[in-house]
Symmetry: C2
């Protein structure tokens, strides 16, 4: 968390579908003061239990396309036939307010953010193994066999992009993975180039700049 | 912590005298598996309560000078008339064994380690303020007024070197400062360039390199 007019940091968390990234990041955001998720927009229908404005901002395809055409999205993608996007103004609002933002987006989205020259810290979350991911996708039984097959193919391609990220966290156990995500946020806040007003204030008491 | 023949990471913690860095790092090393302090060698006399081989390796001035002349120290310094040094073989033993090492050394020592081209991650610990440091030095009442004056002068010069470090942690409260030090260690272990066998093993299950 920053204060006194300092901009926040932008964290990006990507992971293959079914890795449990949203659960991890929701817990993380609850645990770390000054870190907020930027809620995604999607054109897909809400699944049972999902709430508009909580899980996603659910909007129509045509509304999504209008926003995309107007450059409203920091990143957006057509994933398995549905649009997903991150509103640039929402994210900017968090960062300009001095809080850190975290985006849960796929590798395509992360690539778009980087290619826009937006400073970000990327964290790639891995499942414990390819077979554990397959089990998880089958276990949640919300996809057809064909969808699961496609998700696994995509996962294989996505995992190859982990080198584009700054950090890798294996989601072997939720508590431990959240702890490591939290560690990354705290460490990035302590980097000398980004240290907050607190550290700068101390330096000043020693007559430094 | 690394395994299977991977080298450990070398952390350096520096701080002005009286900042409480040794207490912080001792707690840190107890809390984080696979992180070990490399015990310093010194020619000064043990203070009441200090144990040889626990707080320091206490050796004679002549023994210290022989070791220094033989290149046994990764870094060493004459601090207020006493020698302090880090044994290169001790540190190498920790790193080669796949554990991470942490050195509690002053800015002169940190400079020597960097100038030798040894890869390290530097953390600068700041007291809450210059006046808090002075109060602390006076409170522990083990130094004369003249020694305290010299320590404060040195502190002012040392604080100016914080930009040579990767991270800055303000020791405003011990628990919180240790938590941030721990976060830095965990985050550095999760960096994509250094990720351990665990993450590499997962990548392999996806057919990656």
């Amino acid at each position: 968390m920053s204060s006194d007019g300092e901009r926040g940091l932008l964290f990006i968390v990507s992971a293959p579908s079914g890795t449990g990234k949203t659960t991890l990041v929701e817990r993380l955001a609850k645990m770390v003061p000054g870190l907020r998720m930027s809620r995604s927009y999607t054109s897909r229908d809400a699944r049972p239990g999902e709430l508009d404005g909580v899980d996603y901002n659910f909007i129509s395809r045509s509304r999504f396309e209008t926003m995309a055409a107007g450059g409203a999205f920091l990143e957006w993608a057509d994933v398995f036939g549905n649009y997903y996007g991150t509103c640039a103004a929402d994210t900017e609002g968090i960062l300009a307010g001095g809080e850190d933002a975290v985006l849960v987006i796929d590798v395509q989205g992360a690539r778009q953010v980087r290619s826009r020259g937006v400073a970000s810290i990327g964290i790639f979350v891995l499942p414990p193994s390819a077979s554990a991911l397959e089990q998880r996708l089958r276990g949640r039984s919300k996809d057809s066999d064909e969808q699961i097959r496609r998700r696994l193919e995509t996962a294989h391609a996505e995992v190859g992009e982990f080198t584009q990220y700054e950090y890798v966290v294996v989601n072997d156990a939720v508590e431990s993975a959240v702890d490591r995500l939290r560690a990354i946020v705290l460490a990035e806040r302590a980097r000398v180039g980004r240290m907050g007003e607190a550290a700068r204030g101390v330096i000043e008491t020693f007559g430094g700049k």
